[in-house]
Every structure is written in structure tokens, then in C-alpha cells.
């Protein structure tokens, strides 16, 4: 009981800290910035007053505004004169009632507008103009823009505060002041829901029931991808997968770990064939499979990490060409099926799947885990039904020993162990974010697959932000292989880039790969070396510290990705919603709704992203300190090495702050 009370107390403190971290920067920066333009209610408004207005000429063409960064002064009156050089474009300024249609070859005047609030606003194309339409963006900066300065100050302040906290009160068992070792046995302790959840998860049909609708969605993705509208945001395969699913997965990781893997249809077909069952357990355990063994050298995250990187190198094609997405998913589902028929286990999910790799990598940050109640009981029972299986369920298809499992990374939450255990020793636990991260970081020596997954994920969130929401056209053009389109969007040739286009893509691919695979890891290694020097230790090799510290990129990266996901949803929510009613983009309206595109609270997006960045930074610093405490037997060397690494984390946070601020 004492433990529960302790948890509740800790929980309240944790929630308060999270709320503070989330709301304080939001409030402070918003009020500071609003204060710049005293008594002003709107950022800018149509001005009726006489007087000179500055005219800004803008050219809109697929898929850029030129100029792409526009500076105006506070209180200045502006007339935008927008000319479209190719197809119909829209002109929309975030969060305001400024919207204009710009027909091809025509010039439209918007304004005069008076800008009464400083800050950075996005100008977006509001009429679908082709595959990259959602990314046709320019920055409008109303000077003097203090947002960035405030954001930078808050970032540095957070880093210093957390450093001071770990110096004075930092403990191995506490993360941001909360006892990270306290857990709740959800199936036992949570009334009504716990037993109900247990029954549901022990029901053999649950896996099938969860997978089936997703498999049907996949069929729809193939159909719409191959036969639907070639313009991405009008097609179900793009709008639902790359906006809705892609964003929701980031939240799912935090709250439910690898729950997506519970319902993922990619390996399901292979699993059903190999088991010769959709639901039940075959009484003779003969797999319809070649029963080969998975090579030990491939039993890691290297292929998954690299396949995620390769997928990301193609991301601007994937998220804009339905047929490319459909081909990718077809390849993945065939691979998942064939591999299961060769090796009857989830090795595709463990080692190959790009989504499985990054979900698994971040899943240690989840507040959710499937674990044994007592490892001692599992160890003492020779039956090991969780590994070998029983008439009630299969042995762990993820090739784990669930009873002794200490991390979420490779637990696909199939709940076979929960069904199998004759001792009722398996359960679901709620816990602190990253509860087992420091132990995992220390335990994993000389294996750098997950470290590189961290570097790839962290680098890519920056490149994704630049490519999806930045004004820098050249990056989008590189990623898009320089494809030019005409007015007839239905007839665009989507799959044949020119040689020049391929060279452009190489720029993108080399830049992203260099940063993710070489530059960032090299900088990180340099800082690890400095941290070792600062700690004045000689018996711990730099590579061990580098490997262990790289794990803090998991919580840090995840918060940045959540920020990215929020932006993705708030700006593009209308596309996936409409795609349910018109999946092929043929003008259907199956469910009787069709929403006009408009972003939700776009002007607040940076203020939502900032607290997430700061939370990630705080977690990274605190986890580094805990890992350091485990490395060195002393607070001083631990603090000194943490301080060095904090410089790198703060720099990385500032880079992201620069992109959003």
C-alpha cells in the first residue's frame, strides 16, 4: 500500500512537472510575444486606412512560392501580388482569414494587410496543385520577431535547470524527481478494467480481430494506390497512411509501446499459413514452413534501421505518389509472408521491418510493458510455456524469454505468454517513461545497431521537418527528383524521373545519409570522448560511453517526432478524413462529409512543439546522468560528463528550435 501511495504522490508530481513543462513555455512565450504588439488582438488585419502599402510580388508555381521567406515590419501595410505560372494555387496565411485563389497565368492582389503581431507565420498553398501540394510553403516573418530568442532562452534555461537538478538531487532511481522503479500491475490492480483486459487479451481471437480490419485497410491501400487518384493528398493510401497512421504511431509508442505490432497485418498472412490456423493452436505443432534458423548476425536492428533510412530517402516520393506507397507495402507484405514461411517466427518484424525497427527502438520510452510478475517464479519453472508454447498458445513468436524479458524493444505484444503461463505470472504494467532505459544502455555493449537507429531517427526528424514544413524548396525538389508537372494532374508521369532529377535526388540522399550515418554519430562520439575526459576516468572506453549515451536519443527523438506528428495532424487533418469518404479520390462522398482544408491552430504549433522539445531535452540530460552514475561510482564524474553531453543535447534542441521558432 505504501508503494501505491508513493506512486500516486510521484505520479501527481510527474503530472505537475509535465503540465508545467508543457504550459509554461507555451504561456510565457505567447504572452511575451503578444506583449510586443500591445492591445492587438489579431496578428494582422485588412487595413481600411489610407496610406502607402508595400507591394510584395510573389510567384506561385508547382510547388513553391518565390520568394520563400518574406520579411515585413510590425504595423506595416502590405499588398501581396501573387501570380501563378502554372496551375491553380491557393494563398493562405496560417490561422488568419486570408485566403485567395490564384488561377493559372493570373495575378491576384491580396491586401492591404496590416501586421500587428510579430512572429513567424506560414504561407501555404490551399488548393491541391499536385503531388507535393501539402508542402508548398513560404515563411512570413513579421519583424521584430522575438519568438526565436524567447525559445532559445527557454531551451538554455531548461538545460541549466535540469543540470542543477541532477547536480543537487539527481538519483539513479529517479527521473525528473519521480521514482522510476514503481510500477502498477494493470491486470491485477486496476479494478474492472484490469480483469476485463486480461480476459480480452487471453482470448485467442483477439489477435485476429485486431489484424483483420487492418488487413482490409491494406487491401484498400493497394487498390487506391494502384488505381486511385495519383495526387497524394486525395488518395487514401497516402492521406491515411502517411498523415494519420504515421502521426498516431508516435503517440501509440508512448502510451502503448508496440501495440501497432499486435495488429499489424504485414506478417499475419505468413503466420496464419505457417500455423495453419487463423486463431486456434494446432494440437500438432508442425509448422507449414521450411523451419530454417535465422542467422545470428542478422538478429539485430541494423537492417531495420537502414531500411527506415532508405524509406526516408524516398519519403517525398512515398508521401506524394500513391502507387509508390502501394508498391512499398506490397513488398513489405510479401517479405513478411515469405520470411515467415522460411523461418516461422517474427524475424521480419524484429530485424527487417522499417516501422518495426523504429517503433521497437522507441518502445522503451513507453509507459506500458508486458512483463512477468516475478522473474524468480519463471526461472524456477522448467516448463517455460512462454518460450515453448502450450495447448493454450504459441511459444513467443518474437523469440524472447518473456518471463525474463527486461525491455520492450523486441516484445511485439502478441500476448501469447499471457495466454500460455500456467502460473498466471505474466501481466501488463504501467510505469515511468523510459523506466528500464539506463539499465539497457549499460547492458548493451559493443552492439551499435540501436545507437545508429537513434542517430537516424534524430537526424531524420530534422530533415522531415525541413522537407515537409520548411520553406526551402530546393530540399523538396531534390527529394522529389526534380519532377516537373503540368496542369493535367491526372496524366502526370509519376515514375520516370529524368537523369537530372536523379542527380538531384542523389544530393538529398547523400546529404541525409551523411548527416544520419556519419556526421551526427561522429559529433556524438566526439562529445562522448570529451565527457570521458571531463569525468577523469580511464577504465571505461569511450565506445562504451558512446554506445550507452546514444540511448538517450530515444526519448529525446521521440518527443521531437511527437511534435512533428502534431504538426502533421493539425495542418493536414482534412486529407485523411476526406479520404475515408472518397478513398480513390474520384469525387465520391460515401459517408456524406467532405471538409474544406484548413489547418487547426497553426499559429500555436511552435508553442506546442517547444514544450515537447524541452521535455525531450530534460529527459535526455537526466537519463545521461543516471547512465553516468551507473558508469562511474561518484556523483562528481557523473555530473561532469553529463554537463558535457548537455552541450550537445542543447545544441541539437536549439537546431530544432530554430526550425520551428
Amino acid at each position: 500500500m505504501a508503494k501505491i501511495n508513493k506512486f500516486r504522490r510521484g505520479n501527481i508530481i510527474f503530472i505537475l512537472i509535465i503540465l508545467m513543462l508543457l504550459l509554461a513555455p507555451l504561456g510565457i512565450s505567447y504572452f511575451i510575444i503578444s506583449g510586443q504588439a500591445q492591445k492587438v488582438l489579431r496578428a494582422f488585419e485588412l487595413s481600411d486606412e489610407d496610406g502607402e502599402a508595400r507591394v510584395i510580388e510573389i510567384t506561385a508555381s508547382q510547388f513553391q512560392f518565390n520568394p520563400n521567406v518574406i520579411h515585413v515590419d510590425l504595423g506595416e501595410k502590405i499588398i501581396f501580388r501573387v501570380t501563378s505560372t502554372d496551375v491553380m494555387h491557393g494563398f493562405y496565411i496560417d490561422g488568419k482569414d486570408v485566403f485567395a485563389e490564384v488561377p493559372p497565368g493570373e495575378t491576384v492582389e491580396i491586401g492591404p494587410l496590416q501586421f500587428n503581431q510579430p512572429g513567424k507565420f506560414k504561407i501555404r498553398c490551399a488548393i491541391t496543385c499536385g503531388p507535393l501540394h501539402p508542402f508548398m510553403i513560404a515563411d512570413l516573418i513579421v519583424e521584430p520577431d522575438y519568438t526565436l530568442f524567447v525559445f532559445v532562452a527557454l531551451t538554455v534555461l531548461t538545460a541549466i535547470t535540469v543540470l542543477l537538478y541532477v547536480k543537487t538531487k539527481g538519483r539513479e532511481d529517479r527521473i525528473l524527481g519521480i521514482n522510476r522503479k514503481v510500477k502498477i500491475d494493470v491486470l491485477k490492480r486496476v479494478r474492472i478494467i484490469g480483469p476485463l483486459l486480461k480476459r480480452v487479451l487471453q482470448w485467442r481471437g483477439i489477435h485476429f480481430v485486431l489484424i483483420l480490419p487492418n488487413l482490409l485497410f491494406f487491401m484498400l491501400i493497394f487498390a487506391t494506390g494502384f488505381f486511385g487518384n495519383p495526387t497524394g493528398n486525395k488518395n487514401f493510401s497516402i492521406a491515411v497512411v502517411w498523415i494519420l497512421w504515421f502521426a498516431l504511431i508516435e503517440f501509440m509508442i508512448i502510451f502503448a509501446s508496440r501495440t501497432w505490432c499486435t495488429m499489424c497485418p504485414l506478417p499475419a498472412v505468413g503466420e496464419w499459413i505457417a500455423r495453419r490456423r487463423f486463431i486456434g493452436v494446432h494440437n500438432v505443432r508442425k509448422w507449414f514452413s521450411l523451419n530454417k534458423k535465422w542467422p545470428k548476425s542478422l538478429d539485430n536492428m541494423w537492417i531495420g534501421a537502414l531500411s527506415f533510412l532508405v524509406m526516408s530517402l524516398m519519403i517525398l516520393w512515398l508521401v506524394t505518389r500513391p502507387v509508390v506507397s502501394a508498391i512499398l507495402f506490397l513488398i513489405l507484405i510479401v517479405m513478411g509472408t515469405v520470411l515467415y514461411l522460411i523461418v516461422p517466427a517474427r524475424h521480419f518484424c524484429r530485424s527487417i521491418c522499417p516501422a518495426g525497427a523504429y517503433i521497437g527502438y522507441h518502445s522503451n520510452e513507453s509507459i506500458f510493458e508486458v512483463r512477468s510478475r516475478s522473474k524468480a517464479i519463471c526461472d524456477a519453472h522448467p516448463g517455460k510455456e512462454c518460450i515453448r508454447g502450450s495447448p493454450k498458445g504459441y511459444g513467443c513468436p518474437w523469440k524472447l524469454y518473456p518471463g525474463g524479458n527486461q525491455e520492450n524493444t523486441y516484445c511485439g505484444q502478441c500476448y501469447e505468454c499471457l495466454k500460455n503461463c500456467p502460473l498466471d505470472n505474466m501481466t501488463i504494467k504501467a510505469r515511468m517513461i523510459g523506466e528500464d532505459l539506463p539499465e539497457k544502455a549499460i547492458r548493451t555493449k559493443n552492439n551499435y545497431d540501436e545507437s545508429w537507429m537513434g542517430f537516424i531517427r534524430f537526424s531524420l526528424v530534422i530533415f522531415y521537418t525541413l522537407a515537409f514544413f520548411g520553406p526551402y524548396w530546393f530540399l523538396k525538389d531534390w527529394g522529389n527528383m526534380g519532377n516537373a508537372y503540368g496542369a493535367n494532374l491526372a496524366s502526370i508521369n509519376l515514375l520516370t524521373p529524368t537523369m537530372g532529377g536523379f542527380q538531384k535526388w542523389l544530393n538529398w540522399a547523400l546529404l541525409v545519409s551523411f548527416v544520419a550515418l556519419i556526421a551526427f554519430p561522429a559529433i556524438f562520439y566526439g562529445f562522448s570522448w570529451l565527457a570521458r575526459k571531463a569525468a577523469k576516468v580511464k577504465d571505461i572506453p569511450t565506445k562504451d560511453m558512446f554506445g550507452a549515451y546514444s540511448y538517450v536519443l530515444a526519448p529525446f527523438g521521440l518527443t521531437l517526432w511527437i511534435g512533428f506528428a502534431i504538426t502533421l495532424i493539425l495542418v493536414n487533418w482534412a486529407y485523411p478524413v476526406n479520404a475515408f469518404s472518397d478513398p480513390f479520390g474520384w469525387g465520391w462522398n460515401l459517408f456524406g462529409f467532405k471538409f474544406d482544408w484548413y489547418p487547426i491552430f497553426p499559429h500555436l504549433i511552435p508553442f506546442i512543439q517547444l514544450p515537447l522539445i524541452l521535455l525531450g531535452l530534460a529527459l535526455a540530460i537526466n537519463f545521461t546522468y543516471i547512465i553516468s552514475l551507473k558508469f562511474f561510482n561518484g556523483r562528481k564524474p557523473a555530473f561532469r560528463s553529463t554537463a558535457v553531453m548537455t552541450v550537445l543535447y542543447t545544441g541539437s534542441a536549439l537546431l530544432f528550435v530554430y526550425l520551428i521558432g
Binding site: R285, K286, P382, G383, E385, G389, S390, P422, D424
Partner: protein, 133 residues
């Protein structure tokens, strides 16, 4: 010896964890030995399917445990000694049954032998109980 299947240990485990728990009005030969009958059937199927002995005998331990739990109307056992005893005895018996079947003994004969021995054991033990020994 060919076809020698010892049920001494398993009847001890059954007395402790199975016979004392079953809630049947009429105790028959079938009720007394039901988990073993299913276990022998399972071994026969595994041999016919060409499965490997070691893994399948280990699995059979879990099969027996599962059958005993089911037979006594339970989902779990919270007694680790019970799970371990039943698992070990199931595994050992599965090995004997496997060898006997491979040696050419018929399934029916094995079943008869096991059921007969177990029934005798059950009666003997119950008689002792009744006579207060």
C-alpha cells in the same frame, strides 16, 4: 525393457494434484486417467507428424499440466511445485510413451497398460486412505 512405461511417479503427482481436486460424482477409469489418454494421443500424433522427440516431450509436460488444470476446472496453478511436478512427470512419461510407440507397441496397448496401471494405483491408494493407513 520394451514397452515398460512406469506410472509410479505420475500416479503420485495425480494423487496430489488431480484426483484430490476432481469434482466428479462417478469416478471411472476414464476420469482417473483422462489427461494421460490425451497425452498419449498427442505423442502418437507428434510421431506421425515427424516431429522431433526432445522438443515434443518437453512440450508434452506442458500439455499434461494444461490438461490437469483443465480437468480440475482451473485456469492457473499458483503452486509452483504442482506445475513443476506435473511438467516433469509429463515430460518423463512422454519420453517412455514415445519410445514404446517407436519400438512398435500399439497405441491401444499402451493406453490399456497405462490406464490399467493408473486405475489400480488409484484404487490401491484410495483403499489405503479408506482403511486409514
Amino acid at each position: 525393457m520394451k514397452g515398460n512405461i512406469s506410472i509410479l511417479n505420475i500416479s503420485g503427482a495425480f494423487e496430489k494434484y488431480y484426483w484430490s481436486e476432481i469434482d466428479e460424482k462417478v469416478i471411472s477409469k476414464h476420469v482417473v486417467s483422462e489427461p494421460l489418454i490425451d497425452l498419449i494421443d498427442h505423442i502418437d500424433k507428434a510421431i506421425n507428424a515427424g516431429l522431433e522427440k526432445r522438443g515434443e516431450c518437453a512440450y508434452s509436460g506442458s500439455v499434461l499440466l494444461s490438461l490437469v488444470l483443465e480437468g480440475t476446472g482451473r485456469k492457473y496453478s499458483y503452486n509452483i511445485d504442482e506445475t513443476n511436478d506435473l511438467y516433469k512427470e509429463g515430460k518423463a512419461l512422454a519420453g517412455d510413451v514415445w519410445d514404446a510407440l517407436v519400438d512398435g507397441l500399439s497405441l491401444v496397448r499402451i493406453k490399456k497398460q497405462v490406464i490399467g496401471s493408473l486405475w489400480n494405483d488409484y484404487l490401491r491408494r484410495n483403499q489405503k486412505k479408506r482403511s486409514g493407513e
